[in-house]
Every structure is written in C-alpha cells, then in structure tokens.
Point group: C2
C-alpha cells in the first residue's frame, strides 16, 4: 500500500511525521485533489484535514479518513501535543505557513513524495495516456485561418468538452516571428507561418504535454530537420540508468554541431504526471538518473530572435528503452 | 512612482532590501508577468533577473532593468556581497527557495506588496472592468442543453477568443444536486436545475469573478431570495472604514435568521486583482478594514447537501459606498 511505503521512508529518514500541503501530493496519496487549503499529516495514524468547501466531495473520493480543517493554529496545537523529534515538510511549503505551523518542532525539508511520484504505476500511465488522447483528438479539425487567441480557444474548447478540467498549462500558439518566444502568450493576430503550438490536457488529474511546429518555408523545414535530429538522438539514448543530464547533452550536441547552440535556450525535457513540470529534469544541471516507469518530455527547440522558432515535444515512458507515448506526426506543413 | 513608494516602505520596516518571486507581485511592479523563475530584488538599485525563456518578451514589457536569471546560488552570492541587515521576503516564498537563498542574512516575512496591491489604481480598475466585460459577454448565447463539461467549454471558448489567456480559476458548472458542492468540478452529465456557474476572465493580468445560479422551482427561488437578501444587505454595508468581518457578519446574519446558518459554509468575499483571491478577506476571522479603492466579491451561498445549492457573486469597488462592477441580472430562470 502507498501509505505504508511512505511511512517506511519517513522512518528511514528518521522523521517523526510528514506534513503535506501540496494538492498534487495529497491527490497522489488520498485520490482526492483539494480545491482549498488541506493538510495531510502522515504518521502511524494518518490525519487528513480539508475545508468545509471540499468536505462533501472529499468524503466521496478520499481513501484516508477525513476531518474538517479549521485553522493552521488548531493543527499547530495538535502537533505540539503529539509530535516529537524532526518533522518532514515539503519543499513547496511557504515560509508564511511554516511560520504559523512549525514553531514547536524541528523541520526538515524532504522530497519523499516527489521522489515516489517519479515512478509511474500502470494506473498512472493509463491516466497520462488518457490525457494524451484528449489532447491529440483535440488537435484534429482545427480551423487555422484564425487568430492565435482563437486557435488556442478551439483547442481548449475541444479538450474541455472531452472532460479535461483545464489545459495542463497556458496553451501556446506562437506564430510567425512570435514563435521565437518559447513561452509566448497568444495574441489577437491572425496566425502566420510557422505556427508553434504547445498544449496539454488533464485526465483524472494527470497531465499531457506536446509541441508541434507547423512549417511552410524551406528555411523553416531546414531548422525543423535539425530539431528532429536532436529529438531522435535524445530519445534513442533514453534507457534506465542513463543520467538525465546526458540526454540533454545528446540533444544539445546535435544543435550545437549545426551552429545553433545559443538558440536552444531551455532544457531538453522534464517529468510529467500530476504536475506538468515534475522530476526528473532533463537539463545540464540535473543530477538525476532515468529509471523504469518515469515519464518525461523530450523537447529540443531552436529560437532565432526576430525571425522564428521551432520546437518539437513528445512524451516518453522509460521502459527498457524509450517508449514514445505521443502519436501525432512531427512534420506538419501548413 | 511605484518603486519609490515601495523603497520608502522597505525603509520604514527597517529592511535592507526586499526579495520578490511571486509572479503577480513582479507583474505589479515591472508590468511583466514572468512564465518561469524570476527574481526581483528591490533596494536602492532594483535588479530584475528573469530566465532566458522570458528575456526577449520581458525586455519589451518590463519597466525595470533586466538581467538573465541563472541560478539561485548565483543570486545568493551577490546578496552575500551586497546585503547587510534584515531582508524582506514574501509570505509565499517556499522553504525550499529560502533554504537555497537566505542562509547568509536575517529574513523577515513582509506583505508590503500585497498591502499596496489592495488599493487599485484607476488603471487597474480599468483592467478589472475589462476582465468583467469579457466574462459577461461570454455568458451570452450559451447553449444550455449541454453537459456541464461542454457548458464550461463554451464559456471558456468565448473568453479565450476574446483575449483572456486563461479562466481566472477553474470554471464551475455544478447543476442539480451537484450544486451543493461549492467547488464542484464539471462532469459529463447533462445540466439540470439549478445550474450554478462561477467563472471569470483575465484581462491584462487582472481577474474577474462572478457567480450566477439559474433556477427553476419555487423551492430554488425561495432559497435564491434569501441569498439575494444577504447579498444586498452586505453590499449596502460596504464603505471605507468598515471591518471586512462585519460585512461577512451582515450577510451571515440574514442567512442565519432564515435557519440556514449551517448551510453557508464559506466566507462572504475576497479581494480580486492580479490574483483571483487576494486581500482583503471578507470572513469572520478577518482583521482588515475596507478602504477606498479596494475591489472585493460579495458571494453568499446556501448549500443543502444532497439537494442543491445557490450562490450569487458580484464584484464591488469600494468608493464612498459600494459600486457594483458586475452587470448581469441576478435572478435568471431556466
């Protein structure tokens, strides 16, 4: 059972208990994603406190016994009475919350849950595939004679109608010279070539993440070919035990060899699951190794300021080698 | 000038400088909303570090001089060399970031920026009105013979096409018995009566927030009347100097008088601006007072578990009295 495994890790790290506030971590453990402040305290007897707002829905979905969350100072009192020794907290706990909650015991930042979350269970992989299916189905039959805003609206309408409660991040439709901005917001301008689209869905709280760049000119096709070569070599290098930073290096080397090293201004990929960006990071600075069951993106890009940019992104499941989970063609002409 | 005003507050609080990471706070000060880790350090000479990903767009929009963000440890080094005394950090800074950044100086949590943000400038009010206009226009011509998912999709399509980069929160379409869940996610079921819709847009980074409950039966109308009475009395009580908790009390008293006190399971309202939930909180526990220029919601609701719920929410600008910014009718029949 998941909670037993976590309690074991808590013991191994010599922690008395673990305080969890991040909604994705709570969803991972309880099956319920809270919409407002909730606190899960893991020790011999787990306690899950959620606000009145969520209580009815949580009681239908949570696998952990529920109580009503009233205030952090109430929880602080209970912890003072029951906790001794070091208490684990998440990286993402805010200093404001820590000030209110953690005065009476020694705090240690731990990534126990984030660590466990890197390895996806068959059920989690099914949900990720569900998100990919929604995102890919939503990419069909788009009307490209539209503004960037409207093209994003079409994609998001399709995903939302199919049950994705929100895009997994702000949909990027960056066309013409704006495609050189890797995180551009959409504008009210009619799309022009090339059209970089980066989008994803949620399915049962699990995310997808894909990028396609729709090209037209020979120059764009040339850049796309370089990106695709980096993309292919990186994916071929993926297997358990390989350093995440090495995958980045392989992709980066290809792009550098063609003289575009300075134009690849982000890392090669990242884990995807309950969060759109999670461990491991496929970046030069990463100290992680790939393991079986990880799901990561591979997304090399070349951005030529003032002209255009090209990025191709797919999602990969690490098995004995890479298994590509995304299915759309990578070379799409306008 | 905004920065001068902040520097003055920093001096008043005896801080050496202020470290800002929250994207909304950065947007408030610089005009640019970062899409990835960015750090703004306010002292005599402000420094704004943003990642390569955002650098091109930020340089077009930011009013503060830019540098490239490389790593927290680089910033830590610079701070060690240049900072003495206490450094202000935001409530929302994570303990993970604080551990990497704040080792060499004394940290004090401050809400200088959040405090300033409660009072909206004429330009900010214009943007909030822009968000309301998008949200309200998007509410017209909806096809109600749809699933909850699709009704939310229609609303969000309209808002996205009109330039709202994302809904200001996950659109709630909770119909029939599900309307008793105040934060319900949409489902694939066809909408039934009553239909609670809670939605909002962004316009130039500023949010809107409105709820309407479309009713059908006499019982639903009766509950709506109570909610509307609470809503009206709360709004009539709004003026500068009144305690935010008192506005909550006024609304709550009405609902209690009708015997539904236990069915009003959230606070009466909250500030809205760059964030969908910001200061002040109109709740029993709030210690804030209303001030001219604040923008808040008033949103009483009654939730009868297993049966249905009704909530009506409008946005109010605090002037010499309340000015209601939202314009849709409050009594809508299916």
């Amino acid at each position: 059972m998941k909670i037993d495994e976590i309690i074991e890790k808590i013991d191994q790290e010599n922690l008395n208990s673990l305080i969890i506030l991040k909604p994705e971590n709570i969803a991972y453990i309880t099956g319920f994603m809270p919409s407002s402040t909730s606190v899960l305290i893991l020790k011999e007897e787990p306690v899950f406190l959620t606000s009145k707002l969520d209580l009815e829905e949580a009681s239908q979905k949570s696998t952990v016994q529920l109580e009503e969350f009233k205030s952090l100072s109430d929880i602080k009192k209970t912890l003072k009475e029951t906790v001794s020794g070091k208490v684990g907290v998440e990286n993402s706990m805010t200093v404001g919350t820590c000030k209110k909650l953690c005065e009476d015991f020694q705090v240690e930042i731990t990534e126990i849950i984030e660590g466990l979350r890197t390895i996806k269970s068959p059920d989690e992989i099914k949900k990720i595939k569900g998100a990919i299916k929604i995102a890919e189905d939503s990419f069909k039959d788009l009307d490209f004679s539209a503004t960037e805003d409207n093209l994003a609206a079409q994609l998001e309408y399709n995903m939302r109608s199919a049950g994705s409660l929100r895009p997994s991040f702000e949909t990027i439709v960056a066309s013409g010279p704006r495609s050189s901005l890797p995180h551009a917001s959409t504008t009210s301008q009619i799309v022009e070539s090339p059209i970089m689209i980066d989008w994803g869905a949620f399915y049962h709280n699990y995310a997808s993440d894909t990028t396609r760049t729709i090209i037209k000119t020979e120059e764009e096709e040339e850049i796309l070919s370089i990106v695709l070569e980096a993309h292919k070599k990186a994916i071929e290098t993926i297997k358990p035990g390989v350093k995440a930073s090495y995958i980045d290096k392989v992709a980066r080397n290809v792009i550098e060899d063609y003289g575009y090293g300075d134009n690849f201004i982000h890392s090669t990929g990242h884990g995807v699951g309950l969060e759109i960006h999670e461990k491991p990071s496929l970046s030069p600075k990463s100290d992680e190794k790939l393991r079986k069951g990880m799901v990561v993106t591979v997304e090399p890009g070349i951005y030529i300021e003032g002209k255009f940019g090209v990025r191709i992104e797919d999602m990969i499941l690490v098995k004995n080698q890479a298994k590509i989970l995304t299915n759309l063609p990578r070379k799409i002409f306008a």
